[in-house]
Amino acid sequence: MRTRTIGFMGGAIMLAVAASLFTITQTGVAGQTATGAQADSSIRTPWGEPDLQGIWTDEFDAPFERPERFGDRAFMTAEEQAGLDEQRAGLLSRDRRVERGTELDVAGAYNAVFLSFKRTSRRTSLIVDPPNGRIPELTPEAQARAAEDREFRLALLRSTDTCKNGSVACRGGEYNPEPSPRRAEPAPRYNTGRMNRHDNPEDGSGGDRCLSGQIAEFGTAFGGSFRRIVQTAGGVSMYYDVGQGQGFQRNIVMNGSPHLPDSIRQWWGDSRGHWEGDTLVIDVTNFSPKRDFRGSRENLHLVERWTRTGSESLEYEVTIDDPTVWVQPWTVKQEFRKQSDQENRIYYEPRCYDGNYGFPSLLLAARLAEQMYAEGKGPHPATNDNATDFVGVEDNPLR
């Protein structure tokens, strides 16, 4: 049974879309000032609006939050940048193997071939405000929610080798061979992350269910992220290519009308835009409680600023606010480079879902493990770890 379960898990984790595990931390900024963007006013559409059109991506990797060693320095030196490039080029990353035949080794089947490593940015963090480049402190209520969530996930993990071996995935928890009675409880909040239980589709992470791909969008290690902007007079449409076929569209409402009624909640919110000088400013609210951005759900409020700064460059700045989660708003900035329209390297089909054999495999493997256990042919299902999958990610110096 042991081998059989691992075999099923291998299929599951190999095929499950694990993008959500790697989101957010991997993209970066080339190096621009932390002050307001300088628009290139000469680049305009035939009808006279600033022209933001094209396929855009961030060609550099920067830490999302600033590593402490950089202190208040927004930019690293050229030497530091070269050193990091060299260090990262030598990383085995997810090609690293751990002990053969272990659950963690099988979980590494999604190896480095699937990842993209870009050159290191001069920027020491994508976060430009607060000045320390770190996400502001969580409010006491958000801390309590996060602790409650963590406690629940650790309870589901406590009888596995992951906890027995003291893996970082079990940090804050401890090994207990007795399966937790909490395995029968619903998650404290609507689940969006990996948990070590697959009783129902709702136990799957957003990534595994092909329901990730969200704004605010800062790319994933799986090929970064691309967005195509197409404009018409008084209209802006965007399509995001992100996370292995979890792409999504945004159609910015530009008519000056107020946001949707409070009762209408959407996975990608409600985007309402206007021009401030040559900058497209988009206010995004009405998010669904079923998606989670670092703990923020239905109260997330984004203010995005898109500025064409040159023929090949577009600056993106977003202020992220949710007073129920963070003690103050914070701001992320990225500089996108224009990609060739002719090469057309953007993928439009949200095909993750259509080809998702991994997710039903996770559920089916869980049912089979239960059956084997009931027949006395396998271990207690609570001793299997079908959630942990981070081989080689922990030694990335940009984290």
């Binding site: 018409t232 399509y239 949707l260 079923k290 002719q342």
Partner: protein, 321 residues
């Protein structure tokens, strides 16, 4: 679709051209909508939110109303006395199919090869298992253009973008020839457009084999090649015509035509229809530890819902070894 045959269409176009000429200097501003010029870069401006108002997504061909997409024999042995089959019987009249004169031009029939016609009949019998719409798969072109969901056209100069509410899918029509094709077959195809006068003509290729045209099992192969024609006949109506070619499936090219209507509501905007989530119970419900739906009950009937495993599904084949 007699009212849309080519003779009367010419009439409509002529009238529209005259009216269009009168309006050409003006700018249409719907209440609550951003200023939308009549022309973009000298071409008719198709930008806005559009939707069909027809029965094409049920069945492209002419058909009388029928009780359901999937039926079973009734007490009489006639085709016209069939009854809704168990998977949809609980929907009653809501599950019925409205009648239509169809959108297929000419004799109203799709010119299938005998093998392809047999496949269509099989599709009808296996609708629940095979229609990609039920699973919220990417709908493909042309189907996305006439599903009962709105879509937004954003017309620029070298690209015309279409964003569809259903399944959050999109297509970009490239007005520059020579844009690289996707490296793989796709649901939505690769679209290259050009203007013939005031008609937008779009050539679409690179399809995969999984697309359906409607809920009636009409289908195609990866050899499908479309030529779409978009003609704005009034500010709020586009005449949409498609010529479909696929020698693996059809004996000759054939054509569909229908009007697309602007959603003129002052507060119209595209809302999400992320149906992946809605189809999860259908797709994975049987894999729950404690299935939610083993049978449905009401005061008068108990219905067993059977979800057949799709034939040739690699995943299920693998596990049933």
């Amino acid at each position: 679709m007699r009212h849309l045959n080519s003779n009367s269409l010419i009439g409509v176009v002529v009238v529209a051209a005259v009216v269009g000429g009168i309006l050409s200097a003006s700018v249409s501003r719907m209440a609550g909508q951003a200023t939308r010029p009549d022309r973009i870069d000298g071409r008719p401006n198709l930008s806005g939110i559009w939707q069909v108002n027809n029965e094409a997504n049920w069945d492209l061909e002419a058909h009388a109303a029928r009780p359901a997409m999937i039926t079973q024999p009734g007490v009489y042995p006639y085709a016209y006395t069939r009854l809704p089959a168990p998977p949809v019987v609980a929907l009653g009249a809501v599950g019925a199919v409205p009648g239509s004169l169809g959108v297929v031009q000419g004799d109203g029939q799709i010119p299938y090869t005998p093998e392809a016609l047999a496949r269509k009949q099989e599709n009808v019998e296996n609708w629940v298992d095979r229609d990609p719409e039920i699973r919220c798969y990417v709908p493909g072109i042309p189907r996305a253009m006439y599903m009962p969901y709105p879509y937004e056209i954003t017309q620029s100069t070298n690209q015309i973008h279409m964003a569809f509410a259903f399944s959050s899918t999109a297509r970009t029509i490239h007005m520059d020839d020579g844009v690289a094709k996707p490296p793989d077959y796709t649901y939505m195809g690769h679209s290259v457009g050009r203007w013939e006068g005031d008609t937008l003509v779009v050539d679409v290729t690179n399809f995969n084999v999984t697309g359906w045209f409607d809920r009636a099992g009409n289908h195609h192969s990866e050899a499908l090649h479309l030529e779409e024609r978009f003609t704005l006949v009034t500010p709020n109506v586009i005449n949409y015509e498609v010529t479909l070619e696929d020698p693996n499936t059809f004996t000759r090219p054939w054509r569909i035509a229908m009007p697309l209507y602007r959603r003129v509501e002052s507060n119209m905007q595209l809302l999400e229809f992320r149906c992946q989530e809605f189809a999860e119970e259908f797709m994975y419900g049987h894999l729950r530890k404690e299935p939610l739906v083993s049978h449905w009950e009401s005061a008068t009937m108990e219905i067993d819902i059977t979800r057949k495993i799709p034939e040739g599904d690699a995943f299920y084949d693998w596990y049933s070894r």
